[in-house]
Symmetry: C2
Subunit: 320 residues, 2 copies
């Protein structure tokens, strides 16, 4: 194979009480990476094209997340005879809380792996994707793991890296509301408390345990009711204009639960019903508007597959 094109989905990390340990891939939005084999250019990674980012991402493959991930994947594969040229098409907005850098990293890993015969599993590729994510956005795997593996993914531990795929509740639907503003992960991390009370730890433990139980037993209502967070959400809420109003609007419109997607500013809500999803999306958009922010919404089920090969773009440009 000379060229491989891979899609990796948007991800919702944290999911309320699952800060840095839980994430899920959502259908219908994502990044696309095309990797082309560069024979005779051992170990070289070239970033030929980046589009959809308004020219803002680095074009240097040693600082672009797709380039770093490709480089790490080549190392993991032990490829010595060739390099890769990458084209990155951003489908995910930057700094939106939807795992944009993680999706690029996951897509690049899977593309490079597929280009060389796909000898590694998604789980085996995870360290390469995490390395890229860590350099760009911090040492957390709750976006990059579901972008790569699909479904709900739990990060049991980082050292050793122990990642667990959870079952996916059948009827679950995500509503994403993306306000037209950005919130860099680094900024969202600065407002986090360094220490928390044991009382808040216990409260969040109850919510997290119930959330995982809801996921694993296919109980969307329990899952939604467990989307409660006394630690991270209160710290970040003020960074998102209209947060309280939008969340309340989602719940009043019938959402089973609502919180911040990853570091924000995107909010997610969950439901088990299509018509409710439409109403929730409309209510969240209206509430952001009341707070003076335009926004757009996306409704999607869980993406169970994660990074996967797709047909190449119809008018692929591959300059040398």
């Amino acid at each position: 194979m000379d060229s491989v094109t891979v899609f990796a989905p948007a991800t919702v990390a944290n999911l309320g009480p699952g800060f840095d340990v839980l994430g899920v891939a959502v259908e219908g939005m994502g990044d696309v990476v095309t990797a082309r084999r560069l024979d005779g250019r051992a170990g070289v990674v070239v970033l030929e094209q980046v589009e959809g980012d308004g020219g803002r991402l680095p074009r240097d493959p040693t600082t672009n997340t797709a380039g770093i991930a490709a480089r790490a994947t080549l190392d993991l594969l032990g490829v010595e005879e060739a390099g890769v040229a990458l084209a990155l098409h951003k489908g995910l907005p930057l700094n939106s809380g939807l795992g944009s850098s993680g999706a690029s990293a996951a897509a690049a890993c899977w593309a490079v792996n597929a280009l060389f015969g796909a000898p590694l599993s998604r789980t085996e590729l995870l360290p390469a994707a995490l390395e890229a994510e860590a350099r760009v956005s911090g040492w957390h795997a709750d976006n990059v793991a579901p972008a790569l593996l699909g479904g709900f993914v739990l990060i049991h531990s980082y050292a050793p890296l122990d990642v667990i795929r959870l079952p996916v509740p059948e009827d679950l639907i995500f509503v994403l509301a993306l306000p037209d503003c950005e919130l860099p992960t680094q900024q969202a991390r600065r407002v986090l408390p360094k220490t928390i009370s044991l009382r808040d730890h216990v409260a969040n433990s109850g919510h997290l345990a119930a959330l995982v139980a809801g996921i694993c037993t296919g109980n969307a209502r329990l899952l939604g009711r467990a989307v409660q967070d006394q630690i991270v959400e209160p710290a970040r809420a003020s960074l998102i204009p209209g947060f309280a109003r939008v969340k309340q609007a989602a719940i009043e419109a019938g959402a089973l639960g609502c919180s911040i997607s990853g570091a924000g500013p995107t909010l997610f809500a969950v439901t088990d019903d299509e018509a409710t999803a439409q109403r929730v999306a409309e209510a969240m958009r209206a509430a952001f508007a009341e707070a003076g922010l335009t926004s757009h919404t996306h409704i999607g089920r869980v993406d169970r597959e994660g990074a996967r090969q797709i047909p190449p773009p119809s008018r692929e440009e591959t300059p040398d």
Copy 2:
């Protein structure tokens, strides 16, 4: 019915990372309460007999956990025409970390409820049992809820009280090692940190989420591997002579996981194999002995039923 006898099982709370939110009932050990109707003595609770406690528990029904629970259950039932006389047989050692007070409370609630036709469900009785536990041992439901409901029980939240029964993995076996020493819950609570780092919170979150996933998906190996705790276990380990040695012995003998049962000093280990359970029990007893403590061990599966009526004791004494 004039008299009802009820058994409620031992419980292992916390289970490592599930401090104050998770507990499980274990077969083969427990407390027994007999409740007898006192017609014409509206609202009166008499504690006729307490045995198996070495004379240490209060005989005053307003301070004994079984008496308090019986009183609260009468209130919950709205019984106006009669009172109850209780006989409590302690099968569980005091201050052992096996939910002794919770078992007495659960048994008393179910016995009084059954005496008056069992109009309330186990879940409906929980507030009465929790009221008794709170007055004796602190406001936590992770012993009393599984003692009453059976199986694994998750306390999602305390206000409002939201309690969730989890599935029970088929092959799971508990090994309990009870050293011949006591550790009052109040003392074990005093050593807890009031604040914890966000980093420890995230680490424990990963373990708790994996523990719940292991429980809900019937994966005993995942469950065991998730029995890790960076917050409570380190604080309490020094209160239990030989803790590190006994835990290590359990793991080396093949246990899938091992930690402190409730507030201790009992340690629990989990396995999915009978022969391993025997080896683990022997190894834990030997390790306690090396630390200078005699101990005894108990092997039991999960008690799925919780508090339930049993035949009355053969030589029941019911003085008036």
